[in-house]
Symmetry: C2
Subunit: 315 residues, 2 copies
């Protein structure tokens, strides 16, 4: 049990030697002479009471003891290294790495990147577009914009206003499809990126708000929200657009939402960062800019009657 640990530098030397399977290369990695490394390994072997390496002609190989120790040692130094880097990163107030889903990154963050850079030239902003749930330390990320029904326990989290979906299309298409009923003839575009929601939030649900019982079967399906919006932008059809994904295009007039009923999505975006980091200069700057930027297109939401999904009558 409480067998005290051997000298840590010796363990680090062993780790390097085991990873490289060469004392010479290990010595190089640690910026010491091969002699020093040889001593370290020898000292460790004395502490253990058994050899860790079998010295062969021009190579070394691990003994059973070495093979037992090596993986744990590698893990340990890996873990120390990431943790230390993460702590170092906190010292840096000019870098900021933000992760968000591919859709939001493409449709909301990327188009505004230039504007943020102009407002905060001292901050080097980076994006990491992934859906993977994240570990701020391991993934070297400072801020996450997450969408879903999850909770953010253990993190600092600020909800962004509620999401809704409503049909969107190019202004040209809007001249043809002027009533909800006319959409029954329209080419519909499906965004599967929010299929995981319960209750679902799809075309049949929106049609129900119009008193229409219709489950469309044909149309283009996209696994990512931004691709669905891009298809709508190209005039390919009518998409059920999520607020966060389409407000930029609605604001610019590239898309229109002719029907003034929207379905509230039973999930929301949250601005998430590690507890206690919310006031680091670059995170605070980004957070304030981010929420101010959202407010700029808030007026769009006011144009809609947003119906909570549970208030929609089944047909």
């Amino acid at each position: 049990m409480s067998t005290r640990l051997p000298p840590l530098t010796a363990l680090r030397a062993f780790d390097a030697a085991a990873r490289h399977m060469s004392f010479a290369r290990a010595a190089e990695e640690l910026n010491v002479t091969p002699a020093a490394l040889s001593f370290q390994i020898k000292s460790l072997e004395e502490h253990l009471g058994a050899p860790l390496f079998r010295r062969l002609n021009r190579a070394v190989e691990l003994t059973e003891s070495g093979r037992t120790l090596a993986p744990g040692a590698a893990d340990a130094f890996q873990s120390l290294s990431t943790a230390w880097n993460a702590a170092k990163r906190l010292q840096n107030n000019t870098n900021l790495t933000v992760t968000a889903g591919p859709g939001l990154t493409a449709k909301w963050l990327a188009p505004r990147l230039y504007e943020f850079a102009r407002a905060h030239p001292e901050i080097d902003l980076r994006f990491s577009a992934t859906l993977r749930m994240l570990d701020f330390v391991r993934d070297e990320v400072d801020v996450a914009i997450r969408f879903g029904q999850g909770t953010d326990e253990g993190y600092w989290s600020q909800p962004i206003r509620r999401e809704w979906v409503t049909p969107v299309m190019t202004p040209e298409l809007a001249e043809t499809y002027t009533t909800p009923e006319s959409l029954l003839q329209a080419p519909l575009i499906f965004d599967e990126s929010i299929n995981f929601l319960k209750p679902p939030c799809d075309w049949p649900v929106w049609f129900r708000t119009q008193g229409i019982d219709y489950t469309p079967t044909h149309g283009a399906h996209f696994s990512q929200a931004d691709h669905a919006i891009d298809a709508a932008l190209s005039g390919a059809g009518v998409a059920l657009g999520r607020r966060g994904m389409v407000n930029t295009d609605l604001h610019a007039g590239r898309l229109v939402a002719p029907f003034k009923t929207a379905v509230e999505v039973p999930a929301s975006f949250r601005f998430v960062c590690a507890q206690g980091t919310e006031n680091r200069p670059q995170i605070k700057a980004f957070r304030e800019w981010f929420f101010a930027e959202i407010e700029k297109t808030a007026y769009i939401s006011d144009q809609f009657t947003v119906i909570p999904i549970e208030d929609i009558p089944p047909l």
Copy 2:
């Protein structure tokens, strides 16, 4: 990235301080004076460029940097410690820890413990009865006797002869239930510990080998094999006994298996240890004793017609 790590002793001091939330207790743990610990922390903070602890009146608390570093450091030293202990354990040739399921431990290993101890007085044998799949390093175990359909890739593994099941009961009950058909009236005992097998290996399957279509619904159910055998031993009914669990009692005559048909179980016991440890003195001694002991009751298997489960005709 390649930010070199700070002095490792300082990191260890930080780990201890963060775990205890007290420099004094950390110093005690590391067998150094509080002054030394204070210097270590200070040195680490200089390397980092930021404080790790906030010094309060009579306590310390972690800063954000400290909170970022602490979990990784704790993991790292934990990992080092287990790996080191595992390597140390390899030096010890007098201890042997064996893990097996509760059933085998109770019905096979425990009754033979005394015999092994007499044959190998120099070896201190310990049992760890658990079903959990194991990590030899983390769980401080040398040998595992595992039952199942799994593979043992990455380990040294030796299969034990095939398992089968056949009805067993006390000699007294055997006077009443002399034919397979008579079992339809017998109180049956169910061992649910092998319910996970596919295809299943239960009463209906054994009855099919006798041309009987019978799915019993009543009877005592046990989640562990040894409890089912204990029930049979007490005369409470007829159990479907697994070879490994009942051969000791059959050999001793405490149980009898009047019907000479057994169903081969589609899974087997394996003797498993870490690669390269199979010839450590105590493991080799145990292994040889173990397989020799099994051979002693091998004659029992010869008394049965063992039918592979896939050869049993469906009814």
